[in-house]
Amino acid sequence: MPKLKIEDLQKISDKVRRTTLLREGAGRAKVTVHMGTCGISAGARKILDALLKIIEEKDVKDIILVTSGCAGLCSREPMVTVELKDETPVKYVDLTEDKIRKIFTDHVLEGHIVTDYALAIGSERTR
């Protein structure tokens, strides 16, 4: 390994940034894939795989991808929730790989909600 220059510290830091943000739980956006039994049988797994692939392709570093249980609307699975920092979460339903690709580029990366696929804006209240 060649000796580091001062600038290299920042380069290493950028390279590992995705990991650091992941561990700090701090990203620009959070995408939740609902993976209850219903979600999985409706193809949530494919959606998750697609998301991982897009993130790798586009080399996005500040998006957090998490899974959670069934969102309660089993007939409209697969389903994801997109939550940009400081904005209301948006739920997308009846997803396919193409749809999630569009949602990712339009909403997650550029901030425009894809109303055609959106079920509702906002989340149920939890107590």
Binding site: I12, S13, K15, T19, T20, L22, M35, T67, G69
Partner: protein, 609 residues
């Protein structure tokens, strides 16, 4: 780089490792592979999270879900439920004492909530064996800053202004120590990191090295630059194999990157570090004994009027600092003296002696729910440490005392619980900050017996070079033993006090100089316990068994225990008679008061009077 959607931060500090966290790791990796998740979920080995009582620990990021007491058997369920179906598993989470529901998120757990991480800022967040992860959390940035934009004098001024004081016991202002060493005559000079950590039950320094070795190395590089040094040593306790391995790896990786060695960052500054294994004696943690030990001589202290900053290792100027002291340095350089000085108590505008700044790491043990390692801001009250972070006293017992500062720290009573933890207030109360041991005692602990216990430790560790410590501490120990056996006399109390002051005033090093603290504080705050032992021949806490009278409650013995006879069989003196379904009886003339009957009776039929 492949994106992972989750990182499983598995604690691999010494505590969790001995609770088999490596088996959990294997099981996790196997199960994740079996389920085809190996490209999305990564298992990361981290240093100690500090909540050792609940280990092995696993924190799932980014969700911050905290799992505890994991075994290999839990792994298939965990992977299925949490990582495939996205449903965190409640039964593997932490449920606080007296609470009904588990607390899923690490940041909501009382033990973690009350803490402030400065020295341990990377704990649980990085793999300590991977320098890139440390760099991503700003490691070595402070070196770049000092080497390119600060003069050595400016670095020293910054450390002085921060108010940082030694975390190894003495609380000496670090900036002043560096400055004296810089100004001392003689070349070459040395810096040393004291990682001997001999206090029984303490593991602050081990933890820092195991979770973030680079913070210590970086601190040393900065100190070396400020003082004008090109060679450093880490003197590490022999019994710390994991910490030592991680330190070796860290040093190798730093050398590889040119962060240690010749011409660091092309600035012409050279500095390298060597690891020396401790010689295995408590006294070797003392500065002059430690340096003697590195030189290959017997680890014995010498008189203090010759300062090690002028005449240290090989009689050359040497700056010795504790692990935690070094680990605080990079943060001060990165975030500024003012930030550091804004945490804590006192006023340091005149001199760094005026206050206690920053945080302190404590190892919290004894009679509290949450034993483990905690980092808290200076100035926090003892009450907050014991009851908020520590979760209070288990089994509904009453708090009695807390000892701060390790084996030679003083015992502080309940009415001092609102004392703020800082150098001055602890010393004033007769205890000390020490290096960060903290032992909580409850109503079942006898303070005379505790004083005896800690004095037995210091007496055993006395190197024997000076008479006051060698013979004085021994004489005190003999008196304490006598009192716990009911053979004490009234004059013993004055004698103990007199001997204490004599040993403190005339010992060569702080081993003898602080060993009497437990005796003096227990005499001051718990004198009535001594008096009960001496006048009534009774131990109020019933811990000094020689003073107890053991009898059997005939009613309970028959109705609950059906004369089970366990006590009769276990009694080493054959002092118990009785037969099945009938009450048993202790023959007081034959009883040697070992208390085994009390320990083995499941029905609480044995009574102590």
């Amino acid at each position: 780089m492949k994106p992972y959607r989750a990182n499983l931060m598995l604690c691999a500090g010494t505590g969790c490792v001995s609770n088999h966290s490596f088996l959990v790791r294997e099981a996790l990796e196997k199960e994740i592979k079996k389920r085809g998740l190996e490209n999305e979920i990564q298992v990361v080995i981290t240093g100690c999270d500090g909540f050792c009582a609940e280990g092995p620990l696993l924190i799932v990021q980014p969700e911050n879900i905290f799992y505890c007491r994991l075994t290999e058997k839990d792994v298939p369920l965990l992977v299925e439920e949490h990582f495939i179906k996205g449903r965190p598993v409640k039964k593997l989470m932490y449920t606080p004492p007296d609470a009904k529901a588990p607390v899923p998120k690490m940041n909501d757990i009382g033990f973690f909530k009350g803490q402030m991480l400065v020295a341990l800022r990377n704990r649980g967040l990085i793999d300590p064996e991977n320098i890139d992860e440390a760099i991503a959390r700003d490691a070595y940035k402070a070196i770049a800053k000092v080497l390119t934009s600060m003069s050595p004098e400016e670095v020293i001024q910054e450390i002085k202004d921060s108010g940082l004081r030694g975390r190894g016991g003495g609380g000496f202002p670090t900036g002043i120590k560096w400055e004296s060493c810089r100004n001392a005559e003689g070349e070459p000079k040395y810096v040393i990191c004291n990682a001997d950590e001999g206090d029984p039950g303490a593991f602050m320094d081990r933890n820092i090295i195991e979770s973030d070795p680079h913070s210590v190395l970086e601190g040393m590089v900065i100190g070396a630059y400020a003082i004008g040094v090109s060679e450093g040593y880490v003197y590490i306790r022999h019994e710390y194999p994991l910490a030592r391995d991680r330190l070796h790896i860290a040093i190798d990786q730093a050398r590889d990157y040119g962060l240690l060695g010749k011409n660091i960052f092309d600035t012409g500054f050279n500095f390298d570090i060597e690891i020396v294994r401790g010689a295995g004696a408590f006294v070797c943690g003392e500065s002059t004994a430690l340096m003697a030990s590195i030189e290959g001589r017997v680890g014995e202290p010498r008189a203090k009027y010759v300062h090690t900053v002028e005449h240290g290792l090989w009689n050359l100027p040497t700056c010795l600092n504790n692990v935690e002291t070094w680990a605080n340095v990079p943060g001060i350089i990165n975030r500024g003296a003012e930030w550091f000085a804004s945490i804590g108590t006192g006023d340091i505008s005149e001199s760094p002696w005026g206050g206690s700044k920053g945080t302190k790491v404590f190892s919290l043990t004894g009679k509290v729910y949450n034993t483990g390692l905690v980092e808290v801001p200076m100035g926090i009250t003892l009450r907050d440490i014991v009851f908020e972070v520590g979760g209070g006293i288990p089994d509904g017992k009453e708090f009695k005392s807390v000892q701060t500062g390790g084996p030679s720290g003083g015992f502080l009573p309940a009415d001092l619980l609102d004392l703020q933890v800082d150098f001055e207030q602890l010393t004033e109360a007769g205890s000390m900050m020490g290096s960060g041991g903290m032992v909580v005692m409850d109503e079942d602990n006898c303070m005379v017996d505790m004083a005896r216990y800690f004095l037995a430790f210091t007496q055993g560790e006395s190197c024997g070079k000076c008479t006051p410590c060698r013979d004085g501490v021994k004489a005190m120990l003999e008196i304490l033993i006598r009192i716990t056996e009911g053979k004490g006399v009234e004059e013993d109390l004055d004698l103990l006090e007199e001997l204490s002051h004599f040993v403190i005033d005339s010992s060569l090093c702080a081993l003898g100089g602080s060993a009497p603290n437990p005796v003096l504080t227990s005499l001051k705050y718990f004198r009535e316990e001594y008096e009960a032992h001496i006048r009534d021949k009774k131990c109020p806490a019933r811990a000094c068994r020689q003073l107890n009278v053991y009898t059997i409650d005939p009613e309970i013995c028959v109705s609950k225990g059906h004369g089970c006879g366990v006590c009769r069989r276990e009694c080493p003196d054959n002092a118990i008679t009785g037969e099945k379904n009938k009450t048993h009886f202790i023959n007081q003339d034959a009883c040697e008061k070992c208390g085994v009957c009390f320990d083995v009776c499941k029905f609480d039929a044995i009574q102590i009077t």
